[in-house]
Symmetry: C2
Subunit: 160 residues, 2 copies
DNA sequence: CCTAAATGTTTTAAGTTTGAAATAAATCTG
DNA sequence: CAGATTTATTTCAAACTTAAAACATTTAGG
């Protein structure tokens, strides 16, 4: 009815992986929705803004627009808009790059660094609470597994 | 320097969970980006459209706008726009609900069901290839773990 | 040097997304 | 049964997102 045993097994593998993907997506969306809601109510901000500030907080010297876009895996034009709005609020600043007038370096302002520090502490606590069910060891194991999976995905993308 | 041993351990757990979350997000975004790209180039469509059709394909009798919104975990207004565009393309139809003139039932058209069947087969194959590194058993185990995690998150949300 | 290709960023058009306000209809309550 | 509340959906404004086009600048070849 449903083919040879070999094909039945392959189909099952495919179904299991699809199911895993759907669960992964569901959990990720659930957590993101919760984080977005809290960012909005507690800090009157958004996740994309937080993501940009988080990336910048790891680079005191600042990041180019293209580097920011690469780190966050979002399009160039997207970053332009988010940085525009953060700059309006005085949280980041655009700095010219000496020797390349095409490029712009984006950096957290003093105010931006201060605001981000507060938000980051809460953000970490929210995640800690949401994932409290996972022991530190379990979290570490899953993170490691995801890391190898991400590497494999990157490899594939690179060779295509 | 960094507090009592108890606090140091708690901090570590928090860091591990944060790291896990960041990896989860990175992998999910990577896969989504790949799926979006393929939906665009192979089918000239988008993930949100596919998601809506996938939900409808599991309900022959159709779904109310609010049910669709609930299943997909996106806002009501969002679903309105996506269904509008799918309807323009003749892939879904709005059907009045007998006995409740506020509500609308959304269903796949024959064309929509046919288009979705083709896309779903490809979609499953793409995911199967991307997650090929995971054995069916491993996929099943992770899916199960994510399921309990999702349940826990839902419980939290319900009691708040 | 001068042009062609490459690089860095912004702009644009279309679609997605949210939360809140508006609308419409059904249900509850006195 | 009339008014108030709740429920189902759409509309709206603002932000996010992408891919592609436009722009500015730099680098590479001749």
């Amino acid at each position: 009815m449903s083919g040879t045993p070999q094909i039945r097994l392959a189909e099952q593998g495919s179904k299991q992986r699809l199911r895993l993907w759907l669960r992964l997506l569901a959990v990720t969306r659930k957590i993101e929705a919760e984080l977005r809601e809290r960012m909005r109510t507690e800090f009157d901000s958004t996740l994309p803004r937080f993501d940009v500030m988080a990336a910048l907080s790891r680079h005191d010297q600042g990041l180019r627009m293209s580097a920011l876009s690469g780190v966050l895996r979002v399009s160039n034009g997207n970053v332009t808009g988010i940085v525009d709005r953060l700059a309006e609020d005085g949280l980041v600043m655009r700095v010219p790059v000496a020797g390349d007038r095409r490029a712009t370096l984006v950096r957290l302002t003093a105010k931006g660094a201060e605001v981000f520090a507060r938000q980051a502490a809460e953000h970490e606590a929210w995640i800690d609470a949401m994932l409290a069910e996972l022991s530190p060891e379990e979290a570490r194991n899953y993170a490691a597994r995801l890391r190898t999976l991400a590497n494999r995905l990157d490899d594939k993308g690179a060779t295509e």
